[in-house]
Amino acid sequence: MSHIGKSVIRHDGVQKVTGRAEYLADIKLNGMLYAKMLASPHAHARILRINTEKAKALPGVRAVLTGKDDNAMVGIYMVDRSALAQDKVRHWGEAVAAVAADTEAIAEEAVRLIEVEYEVLPIIFDAQEAIQPGAPQVHEQAESYDYIKGVFHPEPGRNIANRTKVRRGDVDEAFARADVVIEHTYEQPQVFHVPLEPHGTIVQWGAEDYVKIYSSTQSPFAVRDLFAHSFNLPRNKVEVIAPYVGGGFGGKSGIHLEPLVGMLSKRCGGRPVKLIPTREEECATLPSRQGMVSKVKTGAMRDGTIIAEEVEYLWVGGAYADYGVNISRAGAMTACGPYHIENVKADSVTVYTNHVFGTAYRGFGHPEVFFGIERQRDLLAKELGMDPVELRLKNLLMPGKETITGELITENTGRVDQCLKVVAEKLKVSEDYTAAERAEMEKTGKYRGKAAAVLQKSPAMPTWSASSAIIHMNEDGTVHITVGGVDFGQGTYTVLQQIASERLHIPIEKISMAPGVNTDMSPYDWQTVASRMTVLCGNALCDACDDLEAQLLEMGGVVLRAGKHELGLADEHVYVKQNPHQRVSYAQICMGYTYENGNAVGGPMIGRGKCIAQGLTNIDPETGQGKTALDWTYGAHAVEVEVDVRTGDVEVLHMASCMDVGRVMNEAMLNGQVVGGVLQGLGTTLSEAVYYDAEGNLLTRNLTDYKIPTFKDLPGNLDVSYIETPQLDGPYGARGVGEHPLISITAVIANAVANATGTEIYELPLSADKVRAALRQTK
């Protein structure tokens, strides 16, 4: 194969390095107005009165909206949020009112003139207290909400937006006969996505309810679907355009500001209205990743065999369910990691609280689950006096075993054991430090430690999640691909070009893809999430290429007077296999073939292809059994850290990551996903956390208080490698991998810190002050 696996450079590089790539903020429309939101200064309060008179009187103001006006209910899985707060606010920063005006400055001034009177309510901040009977409710009217029945299981009156259960075997019996039982609680704060480009949207609600939406989104078709649903519009009247998107990490999936801006545009007689949140609003008004409290109880035999595990995952969902309910579901499916365990009881619960609400974030619940699970494995090894790598190898899922949801692992599923062995060997994780090294650590107060951890993820998506692709030929035989998924930097489009190049025997520079998606012109794609693009969209494109190939062969056969089976494709030509010099170029036939006398046959060639997730099932509501995984991608990380016991600073000296990606499609792009994902994971581990004060007011509102990794925070070195167990129904054997590198980073670092210092830390982030405090406590 000539193109698959090569580090082809990205298709949109020139646009991006010259500043010509057009992002949402760069778009201006004639007659465009600018919107601003008024955010709640309270985490939980009743709205008693809003006075908008002064704002409305300001010259240049075209519309002022509050929750009392026509309001739209939104929610991807649980319709529990209105575009503007109604009756009460449920988190600090929630949008209470919005203005559209001629300029941003006028809109800002108008927002300041809106007066709101609140009655402050007690806040609900502790997930464990929130689910107790009698606790104050974040949503008093929860039982009236519309949601996907049978898939999600809310418990109104308990602040529970969803509970997903897994039941397998008999945990009580197994715990009773286990040689050791350990139980720990792990806590993780919310974290922010921090795409460098904030969210943003322009909506034009035209005459006769034709709505045009520009949005910085990962999910143009989901925006269309949910917008149309909220306003009861037919899908063909809603057009969604995603231009270049400046990073998303899950935060730009689903629907966000579009309904609010749509209502403003409608109020302004259909003028386009633009809203780009400030960085503070990006933190406070738009959703974050959920926080989590996990309780993990594990029973094992002396030889290290894990026989039972009981987990309770309480997801700090914040004020609204958004993706949170599906994340708790995904968390249940992966509840014990890639291990074979006979007896399992898992409860994964999204809890309403008065935090900023949670949404999808790279890894979709897996990084959170794996912090507890992979910490627990090292703690169990310690309890048993076993090597933690060996303990894992003893229990990992291998062909012939079943997952906790009853899915049979086969030779084709992927090899987590090999990933672990590779990284453990690279960093010599199981080898002890020498006496001389130990003496040096004592002397300097800088203690080194090593650890390894595994990871797994499959896409968490509806059983019917689908993609499609169109490929059409131009007059000169060059081709153009159109898909409905977004390339917001991960490199999918470049990989798609490689696939088409390979399939159709056309040089890659003759294959183009326009940036962005337009739902009126692009074929359908469910959403650009779940690391599903290379697999599902790639398969759809393979299907489209096959369709085009059949047309080329058919037309080539007419011209060459040969049957399909006698023909082949090479070098942009259809040729006769037996006599390869008898050939016709794509350019000669792709718009139809013209004979010497002027007669023409055929016509423009367009290939179309589709793909839908194969063989997925709904899960049993009581036991969680079912098939939810389209493809598994396994991996492992190993790390060596150095902890300065005086300051609490954790330095990452060496890292090794290995993923079973099925097939490397573009090594440089793949490395980009791994290196970027690992660094994002290091941020979650060492510095990132959303903080509030005692009243629930958000404290981290900018990029100074909320610190993402900078150039200074790179690990000493990062060794990346791949295993290729082909996914037989993936394009060329590929599996999804975009989210995975971020999973288990928190756990592997915390395990290495424990290995270095003997101090076990159960809470993130491992910032210097927290580590220092933990070290003091154990002294």
Partner: protein, 154 residues
């Protein structure tokens, strides 16, 4: 409204603009040079980096009025006659961009560094680029791209 004069990418401009806007707004909204990005409007992310009288600055932290008489280079001036600069080409070749939103600011910071010190060490690169945030790439490929130029591709 007040008039100011400035030089941007070699061209002279005279602009009437409100007194309270930033240089970033002036470039983006008044001169329609939207290659310079806004990520935070608070001097925290570097997406708005331009070269201002030879030094890299965050355009969101400078008032347009202060820029009266200044000589400014933005990403739009980096490619000459339709040909990418070696630095731009190195960013592409080294896979130093993903979503691309940080890229114009990264390139301008790197340009300012290389103009001042054509052969920076890795530490000097890290130090000079520290104010530019990237959430996608993990920075390593950006360092490699700059190192490639520092190593002689210029």
């Amino acid at each position: 409204m007040k008039a100011i004069q400035l030089t941007v990418n070699g061209g002279a401009y005279k602009v009437f603009c409100p007194e309270d806007i930033t240089l970033l707004t002036l470039l983006r909204e008044h001169l329609h040079l939207t290659g310079t990005k806004e990520g935070c409007a608070a001097g925290e992310c570097g997406a708005c980096t331009v070269i201002y009288n030879g030094k890299p600055i965050n355009a969101c932290m400078v008032l347009a009025m202060e820029a009266d008489g200044a000589v400014i280079e933005t990403i739009e001036g980096e490619a000459k006659d339709g040909v990418l600069s070696p630095l731009q080409q190195a960013f592409i070749d080294c896979h130093a961009l993903q979503c691309g939103f940080c890229t114009p600011g990264m390139i301008m910071s790197a340009r300012a560094l290389l103009d001042e010190n054509p052969t920076p060490t890795r530490d000097e690169i890290v130090h000079a680029m520290e104010g530019n945030l990237c959430r996608c790439t993990g920075y390593e490929p950006i360092i490699r791209a700059i190192e490639q130029i520092a190593g002689g591709a210029q």
